[in-house]
């Protein structure tokens, strides 16, 4: 029962925050709504018994990406112009609603094979064993830091003063 109440509250808060990101005129307030949306998604992860992912969500999205975005807003001084829509606003709305309808229809009508076992908790140790253990994802774990290194170097080269 508590899980259901938590799900509905988090879902409504998350959808409302995401809507205000795309509807608010003030760019800085949109960034703050984005942080609220990230926090709601972290709560959703907790209701799915993904405790490690919820912690990573708060650390990476709320801690790092949101700060990067606010820094970008401050460095570009576009706040005065607000967040206007372009000419494609109505076609974009139609495309988004059509996508929502088609995918929601497909999801509701697919007979998913729900497993009956209880979810694994806590997940941190099992995730570590899967990432680094035998037959795990060690190649992907090795590639991910290379991607991060290349991204950091690319970002530094791009914003460096000539």
């Amino acid at each position: 029962m508590g899980l259901e109440i938590a799900f509905w509250i988090l879902a409504i808060v998350g959808i409302g925050a995401a809507l205000s990101v795309v509807l608010l005129r003030n760019v800085f307030r949109a960034a703050l709504s984005l942080i609220l949306c990230f926090l709601a998604v972290a709560g959703i992860f907790i209701t799915l018994s993904a405790d490690f992912l919820a912690a990573v969500q708060v650390l990476v999205y709320v801690g790092a990406i949101a700060i990067l975005i606010i820094l970008g807003i401050m460095l570009t001084r576009e706040v005065q112009r607000g967040s206007p829509a372009n000419r494609l606003r109505i076609p974009a709305f139609i495309v988004a609603v059509a996508f929502l309808g088609v995918v929601a229809y497909a999801m509701v009508n697919t007979p998913w094979q729900i497993a009956s076992e209880a979810p694994l908790e806590p997940t941190t140790q099992a995730l570590g064993a899967m990432l680094f253990g035998d037959g795990g994802f060690i190649l992907a774990v090795e590639i991910a830091p290379i991607l991060l290194l290349v991204a950091i170097l690319g970002a530094i080269v791009l914003v460096r003063e000539k």
Binding site: E4, V27, L53, V60, E78, R87, A96, V97, V159
Partner: protein, 103 residues
């Protein structure tokens, strides 16, 4: 009515559609980047929900979500660096005015 897989999937697709609308219809490049982050978060919810309800013992979906987060962090860093460079050169980040490579 108990919460099932469909509830999480519908929440995920609603968030994805909001992000899609924002990415297609906004002129401010930073708002477009924020909408893309919302879409990545929606995909993460779907991944974790599938992992929780279909293979609860395996955690594969949670691993995929971790790798999506790695790629999202790299994408945010490079995207903001590109936006700041464009702003430095052209004094605007309006996506409709950045049309040098359009025909």
């Amino acid at each position: 009515m108990s919460i099932g897989l469909e509830h999480y999937l519908i929440l995920s697709v609603i968030l994805f559609s909001i992000g899609l609308y924002g990415a297609l219809s906004k002129r401010n490049a930073i708002i477009i980047l924020m909408s893309i982050e919302i879409m990545l978060n929606a995909v993460n919810i779907a991944m974790v929900a599938f992992s929780r309800y279909i293979v609860p013992e395996l955690l594969t979906g949670q691993l995929f979500a971790i790798f999506i987060m790695v790629v999202a962090a790299a994408e945010a860093a490079v995207g903001l660096a590109i936006i700041i460079t464009i702003y430095r050169n052209r004094e605007t980040i309006d996506a409709t005015e950045i049309n040098l490579m359009k025909w």
